[in-house]
């Protein structure tokens, strides 16, 4: 039997089965080992799928050999192969980081459960990305969401519970909207397979329920991807979750939601049928630009670095959505490249902050003051990530910003390009806030004794790897740009 043939199913099944196994084992070291193995398998299969898609095109896999419109189909194409690599890759880095950092951030009796929940969350996100079935998307979305609530609530602060609860309410509303939308399309077409839905939807006479479904799904996914002004759950969730969870969520959760949006827009709804009746580009663009400014501006006033980065994420999601809102090849490419680059950058920043939490006990600006002296390498890493958030040459963020501006100018929208550049000023301001604290303020008088809280080599290695990849993808754009271009062409050529 050829294992690679079943890769689409296996890469979801591995973490999904790992979760109950971990709960049964209970031993922390076993839990960690199983989680790492499952995640490594998922990563391996993702890479395999990506390279297979590069050579052979779309891979369709029928679960249980039930042929598509009836059975569940897993469908890997240029777009989601790219997403799968991002999710499982950062998942791997975060997981390897988590062993030591959890010792400081997660209550000891819950630590093995952390790995169970992490595996569930990973399975959910990978499942959302890979499935070609609308209802299956909803199921995986709930799996990932429920496990995320638990992961956030594992934070040590009391606000973690509140943050988890807040996300639970808003996430549930979002998921409900999505399932209502899916239900409406099911009523119209009688199918749940995304490709099939798309084909049948073009023969539907009455467009009104289609618009309703479109509105429900859009609103629901906007909530999940934290598009301004639907972003309220995100700052608290990122701030109060254990740092590893923040890193994982920031790098993957919102990104997969963006993928779901693209999937519905391009595969199910025919945008040429929708856009004449709805100024979609304008609407999305306006929200995206609002997000760029509001998110970044709010970030400037934060005193907690995690919260600052969370608001910066709200702004950066705006850049991704702006690229998508242009609805042309270069815009989509820019959006997708930024999706990846921002994921990597934010993942790296949160892991570096994890080192700070472990060593100094918190991420308030007061903890960070004098970081350039107390933790010079970490401070420098955070500076690099900050430069990437601004979009300075030599970092991944530059590539995406460059393509975003180019995409806007290609359409003659010079004022949109101007907005992108102007909002970067705000990014400079919030990154400077970090620089100010780390390099121009004296370290706190009383440092925690350094032997009690040491960062271990696996944490440092993972933070270093992600930080280096922030720089690496600023130079080697073959994977990121290549995949994004292929995905954009695939999406636009799909209909």
């Amino acid at each position: 039997m050829n294992w690679m043939q079943h890769a689409p199913a296996l890469q979801v099944v591995a973490p999904l089965l790992a979760a109950p196994l971990i709960v049964l084992m209970r031993r922390l070291s076993w839990a960690y080992a199983i989680a790492v193995a499952a995640c490594a398998l998922a990563f391996f299969f993702s890479i395999g799928l990506w390279s297979q898609v590069q050579s052979t095109g779309v891979i369709a896999y029928a679960i249980g050999n039930w042929p598509p419109p009836w059975g569940i189909e897993y469908r890997v194409d240029a777009l989601n192969a790219f997403i799968l690599c991002l999710v499982s890759g950062t998942g791997m880095a975060v997981l390897l980081f988590s062993r030591s950092s959890n010792a400081h951030e997660v209550p000891s009796e819950q630590r093995y459960l952390f790995y169970a929940m992490f595996c569930l969350c990973l399975a959910g996100l990978l499942g959302m990305a890979i499935t070609g079935d609308a209802f299956n998307i909803f199921v995986f979305l709930e799996i990932s969401a429920l496990s995320t609530y638990v992961l956030i609530a594992m934070g040590r602060q009391r606000q973690s519970l509140f943050a988890a609860y807040q996300y639970l309410i808003l996430g549930t509303i979002g998921a409900t909207f999505i399932v209502i939308g899916i239900g409406l399309i099911y009523l119209l077409t009688g199918t749940l397979n995304l490709v099939d839905m798309g084909q049948r939807l073009s023969q539907v006479d009455s467009m009104r329920p289609v618009y309703a479904a479109f509105a429900f799904i859009s609103a629901g996914v906007f909530l999940k991807l934290a598009l301004f002004p639907f972003h309220n759950w995100l700052p608290n969730a990122y701030t109060y979750a254990p740092t590893t969870v923040s890193a994982f969520l920031a790098a993957t959760a919102t990104k997969v939601s963006i993928y779901v949006l693209l999937r519905f827009y391009f595969t199910v709804f025919h945008l040429d049928a929708i856009t004449p009746h709805l100024p979609l580009s304008l609407m999305l663009g306006a929200l995206a630009i609002a997000a760029m400014f509001a998110g970044s501006a709010t970030a400037i006033f934060q005193t907690d670095m995690k919260r600052l980065l969370a608001f910066s994420s709200v702004g950066q999601i705006g850049y991704i959505m702006l690229g998508i809102a242009l609805f042309n090849a270069s815009g989509l490419t820019a959006g997708l490249v930024h999706l990846f680059n921002h994921g990597i950058t934010k993942g790296a920043s949160f892991l570096l902050l994890g080192l700070v939490v472990t060593r100094l006990g918190g991420t308030q600006m007061s903890h960070l003051s004098g970081l350039g002296k107390t933790m010079p390498w970490t401070a420098f890493g955070l500076l690099i990530c900050g430069l990437s958030l601004i979009g300075v040459p030599g970092t991944a963020g530059f590539i995406s910003k460059l393509y975003l501006v180019r995409a806007a100018l290609d359409l003659g929208l010079w004022w949109v390009a101007l907005m992108v550049l102007l909002s970067s000023l705000l990014a400079v301001a919030y990154v400077w806030k970090f620089v100010e604290a780390a390099y121009f303020r004296p370290p706190p008088e009383q440092l925690p004794p350094s032997l009690a809280n040491v960062t271990t080599w696996d944490m440092r290695l993972m933070a270093l790897l992600l930080t280096l990849s922030t720089v690496y993808f600023g130079f080697d754009t073959r994977f990121t740009l290549g995949s994004a271009q292929a995905a954009a062409q695939y999406l636009l050529g799909a209909h």
Partner: protein, 486 residues
């Protein structure tokens, strides 16, 4: 002997490797210094090997990496870059000698970090000099800012921290807020950022956009210290004097004005700018900077502060010369980069020597010091003549070309600015020389005898002062390079 491409790459790699080696040898100061000298010497030799190639109309270039279409990491050496590389590497050798004397005499701490950052800064400077496109230049430009930051805050005092904060915020701020948008816009408009003779913007950008882009670029180059973005320069004077000497007379500020000239000549294109008529404002801004900075310098009592404002003013000479957009003035810009570098480094060396020998930082304390430190003050006098633009110094030649450029373009404003600032320069430099040689020592000083600074410092400043004069009598090499520009 070596391929030109290898030599080009070596320009950046030699100082970078040197930095690694001397960090490793940090525990043995004599070895460390030996490595610094070897590296500096090797770099100078490498640059010299490239001179005949460039004079023979060749442009050695190498593409290291392609990021995206039209976006490459590439090096290439044209005459202006070679001139800049020659100045920086040549003065690095002399400055290393001076640094050793200065750091040891003043018992500075963290000397290994100092020399390592210094060598890395030179690597970044070489990168700027050899950049084949704006993207590469921007990378090295930002690197230079980051690498010189530990040098500026070397003392670690609150004052040094404050200076470092202003340094970092203005230099990073202007480059990210103004120059980076210009870089992105250039790439978006033309699909490339390569430097080409005659510029690349013609046919892609027109009307007021040219002016906007020029403004973004010129103000974005914070290192050129065009007002109102000049504050970092006087504030960076908290650094040890060798840093002020090499970085804030040669590498950093010259990287700024070098970029100004480079962008105008190779990115915008002199003819294109002249036809667009969008560069007139730059002469006004530069002229304003020249005069105002000179007036501030006139009032400064702290010697290094006076030199710093003189630098602000002299840098704007280069910008003014570039903005005039005539064949003569572009040559003047290139020559003035060299003239000011050699002259100003001498002045800073002298200031540091005075501080080391007599522990004096104020102009008003310098009465009669020339009799105790004749070599130092003699060199100071020669360099001051070069700043004013009088023979027999190199400054005369660059000013000659500048005046010719202003005449050729019939720009009366520029002529008035040059005349006025020459007077101001004389007014703030000559009294120092007069005080030093002709006024009596104050009674207090009579009781504190001192001689010259340690010999490596005196030798260094004598050599640079000698260079100022030598380049007046033998300017052919510099002229040959400058005339290949325009």
């Amino acid at each position: 002997m070596f391929e030109p491409q290898t030599l080009l790459l070596a320009l950046v790699l030699i100082p970078a490797l040197g930095a690694m080696l001397l960090t490793w040898a940090g525990r043995w100061p004599n070895w460390r210094e030996a490595i610094t000298f070897t590296t500096a010497g090797l770099l100078l030799v490498t640059v010299c090997q490239l001179v005949p190639l460039v004079l023979a109309q060749q442009t050695p270039s190498i593409t290291l990496w392609t990021l995206a279409p039209g976006l490459t990491l590439a090096l290439s050496l044209e005459p202006l870059g070679l001139l800049f590389a020659l100045i920086a590497s040549g003065l690095w050798v002399i400055n290393s000698m001076y640094s050793v004397g200065y750091l040891r005499a003043n018992a500075e701490g963290n000397q290994t970090r100092f020399f390592a950052c210094f060598a890395l800064s030179i690597a970044a400077t070489m990168g700027i000099a050899t950049s084949a496109n704006l993207f590469t230049l921007f990378l090295f430009y930002e690197l230079l800012t980051l690498l010189t930051f530990p040098l500026v805050t070397h003392h670690g005092t609150p004052e040094a921290q404050k200076g470092g904060r202003i340094y970092l915020s203005i230099l990073l701020g202007t480059s990210m807020l103004l120059l980076l948008p210009a870089l992105i816009a250039v790439w978006a408009f033309t699909g490339t950022t390569d430097f080409k003779a005659g510029g690349i913007l013609a046919g892609h950008v027109s009307g007021p956009w040219v002016g906007v882009l020029l403004a973004l670029a010129m103000f974005g180059i914070g290192k050129a210290a065009l007002m109102p973005f000049h504050h970092w320069l006087p504030n960076a004077m908290v650094a040890p004097t060798p840093v002020s000497a090499l970085l804030h007379a040669v590498a950093v500020v010259k990287a700024g004005v070098f970029t100004v000239v480079k962008l105008v000549v190779y990115l915008f294109g002199v003819d294109f700018l002249r036809q667009s008529g969008q560069a007139a404002w730059l002469t006004w801004v530069a002229g304003f900077s020249i005069v105002v900075a000179s007036i501030v310098a006139l009032q400064a009592d702290n010697l290094k502060r006076r030199l710093a404002f003189s630098t602000v003013s002299q840098l704007s000479y280069v910008t003014l010369a570039t903005a005039l957009l005539s064949t003569w003035s572009i040559k003047a810009a290139a020559l003035h980069i060299a003239a000011h570098a050699v002259g100003k480094i001498t002045l800073f060396f002298a200031a540091g020597a005075i501080y080391t020998a007599a522990h004096k930082t104020r102009v008003s304390e310098l009465n009669g010091i020339g009799r105790r430190m004749p070599w130092t003050m003699g060199a100071f006098g020669l360099a001051a003549l070069s700043m004013i633009g009088l023979p027999p110094t190199f400054g005369f030649i660059s000013k000659w070309y500048l005046v010719s450029g202003a005449m050729a373009t019939a720009n009366n404003f520029a002529l008035v600015v040059i005349a006025l600032s020459t007077l101001l320069n004389a007014a703030y430099f000559l009294p120092i020389v007069y005080q030093a040689f002709f006024k009596p020592l104050s009674p207090e000083d009579e009781h504190h005898p001192h001689g010259e600074a340690p010999w490596p410092m005196v030798l260094a400043l004598s050599v640079t002062a000698g260079l100022t004069v030598a380049l007046f009598f033998f300017p052919d090499g510099a002229l040959a390079l400058a005339s290949r520009l325009a």
